[in-house]
Amino acid sequence: MAFREGPFGDLKVPLTWTAAVALIVAVVVAVALLLADRRETVQSQAYGVTRQAVDTVAAPVGGWVSAPGRWGGQFVGYVKSYFFVASENRRLKTELAQARQWQDTARKEQDLNDRFRVLLGLKVDPPIPMVSARVVTESRGPFANTRLADAGGDLKVVVGNPVMSENGLIGRVVGVSSHVSRVLLLTDVESKTPVMIDRTNARAILTGDGGPNPKLAYLRGREPVKAGDRIVTSGDGGVIPRGLPVGVAVQGLGGEWRVSLDSDRAPIDYVRILLFSDFSQVAASKSLSAGPMPPVTTEDPQGSIINTTPPAPKPGAPAAPATTATATPTPAVAKPPAAKPAAAGAAKPPLAKPPPAKPAPKPAAATPGDHR
């Protein structure tokens, strides 16, 4: 039965007023949703089931929609490589010659670095596993800069994982579904990433604003940055590892410092999601809880709390249990960090004997002056 044929068929309400009431109700709902939103946090539950469902549906649709563009791009690339093969060959030869010089330098620095690490007993960061993913949709507006990548919880991606292109850092994961991840780009207005200036080690917070060049906020020190300085992640806070390339410092029109992102050098079609968890947790959490607990009795029960002078030990008596109990787990705690240098030393024995004489370094090519 249609509404107008029912008992309310003759009910007349002023449509303008009811439309205004509907508008107000819709506005109230929108305000409530906006106030409840927490998409930028690293808490996985903040992303919400609805967003996960939308991402799960949007990813295959985006893949189909972008497929013609992808095929077109591959075809254009094929044609270009066919017609420009000679010039590309010349360019690659030049790059190869430069890369060989850098290879010599890198080998020398690597060797020196290994020796220093062993001498200082440095604990190096463990390697970070990563997964590759294809970008299926992107948003480029001033209020949201995100991408959907087709790798999700099935590949152990979690919220907070940093995401890189082949050129540099592009953002971090803010939402994960079973096969899809939502990546918050460095340019998003909610993105705040701890970075440092490679030359001065000065810290800053890379703050996105929806434009192509995010700002360097909270810079400290006298002239901490100048145009052309390399910007890398600082690792502060433990969400993103230290040393990932971010970009180059440039000065904005208003005099503020911004970053020209390395990832902008090429289209971001494929990304690498670093399955990174905080290194401090990786290194110490298990070893700290592995040792035996100290006994409950840690002081002489005859001793008075008021009399702070410890009772004289009886001759021939065994040592106080507290000393032995606490001493036992101490090496267990201290051992794991010390074990790594020892193992490394077994592979390369620089401590036992002086470093072997290296062949004469290659003359000019091995030591370029610029180490940027």
């Binding site: 509907a22 506005v27 563009g69 929806g210």
Partner: protein, 171 residues
């Protein structure tokens, strides 16, 4: 005037179809495609029906349809939930309040009013995101999106032309 003579609009035709078209167009332009190395623009497609719906007639369903489109944009673009719903409703409210003044003007004038409505919507989004993220969005990026949205007026005009006289009570 009886209801039969009023020939009320079918909501599916003037609300449902434009809503679905906007969603389809938004999905189409979200593809990560470069043309001559440049990204595609990102216009706010729902702005065209928002402007047209306010001019065609006051409606109870339209605000909720706008809210639904805004939520879709927030989910699909990964923005703060409720941001585009609130911004579009602000633009809708402005146009609806000036409806009697806007109707019947020339196409050029209507286009200018449409750009004004887009500017109000973007300004609302700018302010809401400032309050939400405690960070100022880039004005140049906002301007580019405004420009990309402003050229969509022909779609709004087509919708107004098609349904403006469909319900004689609101002529």
């Amino acid at each position: 005037m009886s209801l039969q003579a009023a020939r009320p609009l079918n909501p599916w035709r003037w609300l449902g179809v434009p809503l679905l078209l906007c969603i389809g167009a938004t999905i189409l332009l979200s593809a990560p495609i470069r043309i001559f190395g440049q990204q595609l623009p990102e216009p706010v497609f729902p702005m065209a029906p928002v402007f047209a719906w306010a001019l065609i007639r006051p409606s109870i369903i339209a605000p909720f349809a706008i809210l639904a489109m805004g939520l879709f944009l927030d989910f699909f673009w990964g923005g703060p939930m409720g941001l585009w719903g609130l911004s579009l409703l602000t633009g809708y409210a402005v146009v609806l309040s000036g409806r009697s003044m806007l109707t019947g003007q020339s196409r050029l004038m209507m286009w200018i009013w449409y750009v004004g409505a887009c500017a109000v919507t973007m300004l609302a989004g700018f302010l809401f995101i400032m309050l939400d993220a405690k960070s100022t969005p880039n004005l140049i990026a906002v301007f580019w999106q405004l420009l990309a949205t402003a050229i969509l007026y022909p779609f709004a005009h087509r919708l107004v032309d098609r349904f403006e006289d469909a319900d004689v009570r609101f002529r």
